[in-house]
Subunit: 672 residues, 3 copies
């Protein structure tokens, strides 16, 4: 929250509201139903460009004036969107070179969703113009409490291989490298004879006969993120010139990897996130928790807005599983538990037409005489009882490294094994911590990590010398570090570190990686560990142990008899290295010892119960969510806020329910 | 048969004849062998454009004159093709903008098969010119009994994203909607900000960053079908200006979904169909029967022409399984049983060169000293004994809804589950009826259905208010209706019905669909039904039952304890609803009760025996086909025509054979 | 070896050396380490175009002068590359129409690897210019012993659908066919109406609505190979104008099928090959042996150069499995055993940057204190002990047909079954022979085969009349021929032979193929053979046996009771036909009898031991490689050269090791 205070009272509730799809009479009904449901905030105007600017420079704000009056009269606050994620048909007709082009040169046509080329000057000008007009007109409107720029930057398309993009990429590279020697060095163009003698010869990494220079592709990913953010900044600044409300845009944490959210977190006033878990995952509450923790982390721990989630099924997955009774509330409160102070949905009323008509909404196609509507009303009531949590903060003892640049680099072609999957590794370590009730912040390797008892690096393929030094210092000063394989391999230009694989971590880990030993498909191996055998697959390494203690040894596979798991005391701390992919049980066994090293203790809650605590000025709030059908018992004391009942030592948590227990803290900081 | 009587005597026999691939001496041998095989009709000239019009406007009919004389002298009748499915190289060289362009903008080159853009004025002019020249020259030729326009419209390509197509699409939309408001409303362009302010901004639904407006895509499918038909009509009318013979074109029923055969059935003089079952299906006789019943149905029940099928393997499937001894005859007579009065093959003589040289033919590469040739000769003899069936008609008691517009809409992206597959559902219901020996007509929901005892709607996703009202009226007036899930969801613009899912059927079914409950992959469920349990998968629904009786209840899954199968008495009839995907046994159990409701009785024939009856002026003809290797017995009386032997109560049907039993009808309409 | 003698002494050792990626100080270290490892030959300059010609016509040879001096001073010989596989950025900027275009019209951009259009006049001129400059400057350099033109022609891209390619294709076709009638006849353009009336209308077989004319595609494959070779010839001749050293280019035998290596073998002075076995194959030593035997065979049996292989993992496979201890040496010596007199690697020092940084090298990222470097040094020492093998030759008793034109034709679309896979069939027959210790030459059906006891045709789909006559003559004169199914089907234009499938082989095999009987997916069948049953799948045929003896009969499947395996005595020899796909055991059973017919005896070595013999002027050299972990014993006498120890009757071969046993031959040609 860079500039503005939280613009709402209590926990906000509502969703995207697209009244342009409905006749005026429906608008009045909508406001009445919003009040019934306890809705306090709606996002408006996100796809309205063609209705607000009907031709280039011709504006029609009448309908929006009317709508905002109606909402204001009903006491509903407005998060006012700029409609720049969907330029009108006239825009593309007039500026056909503003269309996005894919890697194969296919021009992306009109008729769908998705912005223009972020490098198009015409688009930049048009988006600033509409944002300016909106800001000038509604800066003082009493209903408008926030600005919502664009929609989901980078989704459905971020990379653009158009000529406009190539021009901008060259300019960006000139700024980054200064001269061509710098670029040639960074990109290693001596390999495969790619040396550039003129800036004009440098292009976007479009389709080629074989794999394109990885440093070029990595820079193009950085550039893509940068260009999208420049679009945001241009609109943000245009609004700020006229309006004082906080400005945000909605992220897609743990869903889209196009934007480097660490950088975006610095330029929005409030972080907002859209959360759409993967329905095929029967424990998709874990992915949801990752997204929430990431949203909070990129905002520096400040309260954030759950800008979109769904009341039930979405429409774009292979099988759009509906949420069962109670699941919407569990999802909403799980976000809240991890720091969201606003719970909004896409969208208020289900669309009859268009690509997303099968996406659930607060008012379903079946209308208000429906299970869904009744749960929507009930959730509004629940959130109304939790107003005092607004502004309280989540405290985490563990930092898990999440580095978009490293992920971009690792996702390029021709890595040692297709099993090297940063998403899978992050989930594996996060999941263990989630099951143990240990709350996680995400962090970059260059962050100040000193407040964490444990830092986990699940997939830090790209690690700069600076990042490696920071992690080393963290351990020296007493921290516990856990590093998974294929970390510290390349520098910021995707070049293997001088000194070999893992060089920046060699000192702190006390091992050197001599060679990767990827396993063939389907091969499983075992690791001897504390007298038992842990199952592993996918990966081994030929490790040369320098100062570390070997705790696990490969029983078989190409690395047979070599070190698999090591621990190195370094300075006041200890650094662990896992050089293979353990299964969940094996990982649990190792993590138990790592916890002990770090002075952490698992919560010991029943399986399927999610625990997280928010800390207010004078009380802690335990959010406990039972994701199973069977009842659970937890140790807790205080007052359960949803039912307004006392909890004395034991919290009874029926299957599928959520409890929020306030426990006052004594003035010394402990709980009473 | 709109305009002309059936132009042949008895059951016609023959195939595509492409003599241009062979020297003159082979032509004489061909005619002699045709006579040996009993061939009476050949299709000529289908790919001859480059030989007939050697340059633009330069014609060479000499070789065709000679060929027709030769055939005429041999007593072989000719179905004369227009060669417009394969414009010559000179055409595309002169009119490069007449080439088809795919969704990604890739221009489809020469050197294969496939017509020009159906929207190209140059193509339209050229095809009318060659059709006119042919008609003028051969209108009075005594060998020519029919005209065969083009070849398999819509295959291998129908949709065209060229600029010529965009121009025509705009014109078509202007005619359909009158003004832009109409288009914006129909397409729901308020969603995702797609409102059009100028006709010139409307385009074809080419590749875009995300999913394209579904109403636009649905209209583009309608437009594609319309443009193809305009090509046919232009040629048809050009021929009709000079020639009186019936005019047809060959469909691909149950193989291609590009053309709306209901509309095509109205514009051809005789329906003709190409039939290529899927070899991987070990019961591909069922798909064949669907294609036959559909061909007959779109022609209003009139006799139709099996224009192409194969003597043995085709060449374009992954594994082109050869037909076993007797299989060609079973296939041919199965088509005949379902109304075909002509049995033709692609092609007379196997091509040595080109893309289809591994496609079987009447004369295989192995020559006439072969099993295949002997069976071809035998089949000719068999058909010669069935001349009296010509003109007899198939009677069906059941209508199964088959709606191309609904299929087009359902096949668009972002549906609730990838398991929603209209082909699979149509096959499942048809297959049950086929196994029970109950003959089916296909129909549209807006057709007069009053003559059917039962109407089945396996996959009527798109259902207009008019269609819903017609089905409701059908039940009111005493009919039995069986509706499968995901029906009545959207209107003609792919917009969800006001009133929610299934609204047009809510009254007749006595249920409302509150929410879809798609199942995760691999999940199976059970339905309690009449004291037993039926297996299901893929789909459940949250049903609100209004007036229906609940006959089946979900035992598990997200819809646990909710209604799965219902029956609603409405007026004088009853309407069933199946809201889940039962397996074959479960469906059989339910269908047995539906039959009882409709007053239908299964034939009770042995497994693998196909039964269908054609009705002549004074006799019924039972066609019985044993698809198994083991002998079967059937109740029948009359005279078996292929063997010319009496049948007295019991028909012995050896494995792999076919019988055609004539049973005279008494003057009152019953069988004697 | 067309023109020049082997330019080296002993077995050469070394690899690609790309010093432009490293600072000058590393160069000196490199030479010292090369000497430590026994390196004698390095390939230089393969990707250096942008450094040697910094702008069009501006050359900078200073660094290369310096490098060659350094290598020369260190006693390292140089294989000097022309850098034309990677034209500089300035080249493509100046000649954008020289870029390769794929079948869908996508232009292949810069930033990767891969040559310009081989049909581009600008590219041809530029590549001749740089080759000429290099030759002029270094023709007399004492370090330069060989020229290495380009790199892996045809990889990663060979086919080019650019306009420049279309122009050249038309010219090539005019030369091939003389007139359009010839082309129309050869391509069978009467099918699907493709007749050409003007050369200008003939194009490349780009994307089309359906399958493109197969004869056109086959000619385009020939043309592609021809154009690539013209590029080579232009450079070769440019070098030869100034320099006398032998000229080669590196093939990719058994990996790339773009170039017809039989034709390339005729135009290089020495065959060179790059060998990268497929890591997922746990017996990839068999594929390696195929590649080696093919390299030797296309060079007429002369010594060849293993130009590239890997010390450990490559980087472009899904799972880049590292080589285990000893595996590099086994691989190197396996190539040597099959005729390679030079053992080189890609590359000397692992690249820190670029697409192949995870490719292993002689100096790994871990540096010289590593297992890999120690094995590299050890291998250099081993090869130093084998100098006397240089120039000795491999003798093979069996010819296995390998015909690129047939493979190109078979790989086109719409074949009878997707199971028809020439690679699989070649491997199956080769593997059996490899396990039996029987050495194979590859050959074309038109070659003089009289010196072979057995000729095997695993997949000779395309077989000209001339080829069929040659095979027939071979048998007549006493040879033994084994033919697998789907052979002799089409002529050089992919046209089915007049006379039907297999016509050119009908006389020698004594069978006619009446019809193909592809099996459905997953179907297995059995063949009765000598009182036992052999398992088969994928394919059967309806065979008409004329003069052959039926030895195996189908027990089931569509060909039930028909002939499966036949043997036909023809003249002084015998010809076998296998018309189904037997499993490995079944094939072994049949091959045992075929061996007996041919007078061959399996070596009977332990499983996993590879045997091959090179014959020197007065001694035989047995190379025995134990690919298993367990020790083996072999009968052998002589002297083991790697350990310099005598072998008296029994050779002990520990797990994972290689032995090279010299056995002197008596003057009569037998072994002493």
């Amino acid at each position: 929250m860079n500039q503005n205070a939280w613009p709402l009272e209590g926990i906000a509730y509502g969703g995207d509201y697209n009244p342009e799809q409905w006749p005026r009479e429906t608008w009045r009904e909508d406001v009445a139903l919003m009040r019934e449901a306890g809705v306090t905030l709606v996002s408006v105007g996100i796809f309205s460009w063609a209705l607000l600017e009907t031709e280039e420079g011709v504006f029609d704000f009448g309908w929006l004036d009317e709508l905002l009056e109606l909402l204001h009269a009903g006491g509903i606050r407005v998060d006012l969107g700029t409609p720049t994620a969907s330029p009108p048909a006239w825009f593309f007709a007039k500026h056909p070179d503003a269309r996005v082009v894919d890697r194969n040169g296919v021009v992306q046509g009109f008729g769908s969703r998705g912005m223009a080329s972020p490098s198009s000057p015409a688009y930049r000008a048009a988006s600033v113009r509409i944002a300016t007009e909106l800001a000038k007109r509604y800066a003082e409107h009493p209903a408008v409490v926030m600005w919502h720029v664009h929609n989901e930057y980078g989704v459905p398309v971020g990379e653009d291989y158009s000529e406009q993009s190539a021009v901008a990429f060259r300019r960006w590279l000139e700024e980054r490298y200064g001269d061509l020697d710098g670029l040639n060095r960074a990109w290693g163009t001596a390999f495969w004879g790619q040396r550039y003698g003129s800036w004009e010869h440098v292009g976007v990494p479009a389709a080629a006969a074989s794999v394109v220079n990885p440093a070029q592709r990595l820079d193009f990913a950085r550039f893509t993120d940068h260009q999208l953010r420049q679009c945001f900044l241009a609109e943000r600044d245009a609004i700020r010139a006229h309006a004082a409300q906080p400005i945000t845009t909605n992220f897609m944490a743990n869903q889209s990897w196009t934007t480097d959210l660490w950088k975006w977190g610095e330029v929005v006033d409030i972080v907002a996130d859209d959360s759409y878990p993967w329905a095929a995952d029967t424990e998709n509450e874990i992915g949801l928790a990752i997204a929430s923790d990431l949203s909070r982390s990129v905002g520096g721990g400040d309260p954030w807005i759950l800008m979109e989630h769904s009341t039930s099924a979405v429409n774009w997955q292979p099988r759009n599983v509906a949420k069962r009774a109670g699941e919407m509330a569990r999802n909403s409160l799980a976000h809240l538990g991890r720091g969201a102070d606003a719970v909004l949905f896409f969208q208020w009323r289900a669309s009859r037409s268009g690509a997303e008509k099968f996406h659930s909404a607060m008012i379903p196609h079946a209308g208000t005489d429906s299970r869904l509507w009744r749960e929507v009303v009930d959730l509004g009531a629940k959130l109304g009882r939790l107003g005092e949590l607004q502004g309280s903060r989540v405290r985490a003892d563990v930092a898990l490294l999440w580095d978009f640049e490293s992920f971009w680099a690792q996702d390029l072609e021709w890595r040692p094994s297709v099993e090297l999957d940063h998403k899978e590794r992050v989930r594996a370590f996060y999941e263990r911590l989630w099951r143990d009730g240990i709350t996680v912040d995400f962090a970059l390797p260059t962050h100040d990590l000193s407040r964490y008892a444990l830092v986990v690096a699940p997939a830090q393929y790209l690690l700069t010398a600076e990042g490696g030094a920071n992690l080393t210092r963290y351990v020296e000063q007493g921290g516990t570090l856990l590093v998974s394989f294929f970390s510290g391999i390349v520098d910021e230009n995707d070049a293997v570190h001088a000194g070999g694989f893992g060089a920046p971590l060699a000192e702190v880990l006390g091992v050197k990686v001599e060679e990767f030993l990827p396993l063939r498909e389907g091969v499983t191996t075992t690791v001897r560990w504390r007298g038992r055998e842990l199952a592993a697959d996918a990966w081994q390494e030929d490790l040369r142990v320098t100062t570390a203690e070997v705790l696990g040894v490969h029983r078989d596979g190409p690395g047979e008899n070599g070190a698999a798991i090591t621990r190195n005391v370094h300075g006041a701390g200890a650094a662990w290295y896992l050089s293979t992919r353990l299964d969940a049980d094996g990982l649990a066994a190792v993590m138990a010892e790592v916890y002990a090293d770090a002075g952490l203790a698992p919560a010991g809650q029943p399986d399927g119960v999610e625990l997280v605590t928010r800390r207010g000025p004078d009380a802690d709030y335990l959010i406990a969510i039972n994701h199973r059908d069977t009842a659970a018992q937890l140790a807790a004391s205080g007052r359960e806020l949803l039912t307004d009942t006392p909890v004395e030592g034991v919290l009874e948590l029926p299957g599928g329910t959520v409890a929020v227990v306030r426990t006052p803290r004594d003035p010394l900081g402990g709980t009473a």
